[in-house]
Amino acid sequence: MNATAQVAAQVRARFSVTYAPFALNCDLQLPGRGVSALFGPSGSGKTTALRVIAGLEHASHAYIEVNGTVWQDDERGIFVPPHRRAIGYVFQEASLFAHLDVRGNLEYGMRRIPQDGRRVSLAQAVALLDIGHLQQRKPATLSGGERQRVAIARALATSPGILLMDEPLAALDIKRKAEIMPYLERLRDELDIPMLYVSHAPDEITRLADHLVLLEAGSVVASGAVAQLLTRLDLDIAHGDAASALISGVIVAQDDEFQLSCAQFNGGALWLPQQSATVGKSVRIRIQARDVSLSLAPQRDTSILNILPVTIIGLSEDAAGQVMVALDAGGTPLLSRITRKSAVAMQLRPGAAIHAQIKGVAILR
């Protein structure tokens, strides 16, 4: 996520919804490109927020603007009905039309778009989701994963100005999730359509999102670049076993002898298990807080390959006896979870220059 995209916020959504006892108050400003994730526990209002933006839910006192088009402004009495909003919506359940075959489903939305508004062709949508072989099939004969791919392609074929996805993987088992994820990454990387992605699964967020909005009990807790928010110690998401940092890097070298790849990023270089990716390709790397240990001086006699000079940004109590340490590696934030005993013994405090030893890295793409 770069700073310019954040400045040029192109999705504005300000609204309140009340279904006693539930109340949702949002004021969102999201980048007009890339993937923005709405993240929060169930009941936090993620889905309702998405439905309001789509116009499926009629919120009060709302202002919704996407890519320069106002869809709702209650002060001026504007409410564009959902079928006149340039959205692609993917529901949690694929919700294919049972009376149409796959082809009929795909064409349903596309046929309702004027010729000159068709920026995504049917062939392109079919190819992106790899569903060419399913076209004559009826929805009832498809697997859950196939159905969801058809639903995504069906939404894409309307050439939407924004793609709204309501937990598209939540109804699928782990195998099917893994089957769909690469397609979602492909959409993000190959299409220039901003995505708003609702999820309560942290691994989906780390793999897909550029921008993150944290929702809790109907209000926005934080909103910002995903790499920043994941490492903010005042947020729950930066604590616990799953806490991790995201690094965007570029493959700069391949070591065929030891089967390693080297990725360069703002704060230095990391050795990764060898990637098929060619030199110059960008990668997204996740480093879990529990895989990062700290030392005051750089270690020499160690098996650990990746040791980075870092500065301590802050420390915060984590689980019992544990401390989460926020680090800065040349502008890239990292997290390290260590015991409180070590933190005291090493006299760690904000501003101190130390070394982070990274035991494991996961390449997300």
Partner: protein
């Protein structure tokens, strides 16, 4: 074998049932849609009114229709002032009575079908740029097809089988209001059992055929 009055009665019956079913599909669709979608407090009242012929003795319905449509009834006044005369003892009167009497058999299957579709396909259609009217024709009607099949067959068959309302409001005028069921009654009254058998057996065969067709075409659909 006096075949002519039989043929006339059968033709009249089919005409009545066909017209009644057609009218009911046209009226019943918006009524069923409204009943399936509304959260209004009058829903249960309207639903009860539609279902009333299910529990009311046909003679009661026929009696009130006779009174209201008759020369001294409110609707009778209206039809007379419009120069249409009065409806009782005419084919038009039979159609009005049949429409009311067969209403639940058409409205309820369609309403059930609409309710079974639920909210989601309508929302999906909206996100795919279909206007509400477009959605109705391109999504709701095709998905409600089994309901329409049941409604058509039940409305048609039930109108053919009706007797009480017809007798009360239509009387027994050959070629105008004498339908099959009334004709059978006539034969039995006159102790012409052989003629009664011809028509009665025909009715049994017809009804059975209709139901077999319905069950075969629509194995999982609701019936009434």
């Amino acid at each position: 074998m006096p075949n002519n009055p039989h043929v006339a009665a059968v033709v009249l019956t089919l005409k009545l049932a066909g017209l009644t079913t057609l009218i009911l599909l046209l009226i019943g669709t918006p009524v069923a849609w409204w009943l399936a979608r509304t959260r209004s407090w009058v829903k249960s009242a309207v639903g009860a009114l539609v279902a009333l012929p299910l529990v009311l003795p046909p003679s009661v319905l026929g009696f009130y229709l006779l009174v209201t449509l008759g020369p001294d009834g409110p609707i009778g006044h209206l039809t007379q002032s419009l120069g249409l005369g009065t409806l009782p003892f005419t084919f038009g009167g039979l159609v009005v009575g049949s429409v009311l009497y067969s209403m639940p058999f058409v409205v309820q299957p369609i309403q059930n079908a609409f309710e079974a579709i639920g909210e989601r396909p309508l929302e999906v259609a909206a996100t795919l740029r279909a206007s509400p009217l477009d959605t109705f024709f391109s999504v709701v009607l095709p998905l409600a097809r089994p309901g329409y099949l049941t409604a058509t067959v039940m409305g048609f068959a039930h109108t053919i089988g009706e007797f009480g309302v017809v007798l009360m409001i239509g009387g027994n005028i050959p070629d105008k209001t004498r339908v099959v069921s009334v004709q059978i009654y006539d034969h039995v009254e006159a102790l012409e059992f052989a003629q009664a058998h011809w028509l009665a057996a025909g009715m049994v065969a017809f009804s059975l055929a209709v139901l077999i067709a319905l069950y075969a075409l629509n194995p999982t659909g609701r019936r009434t």
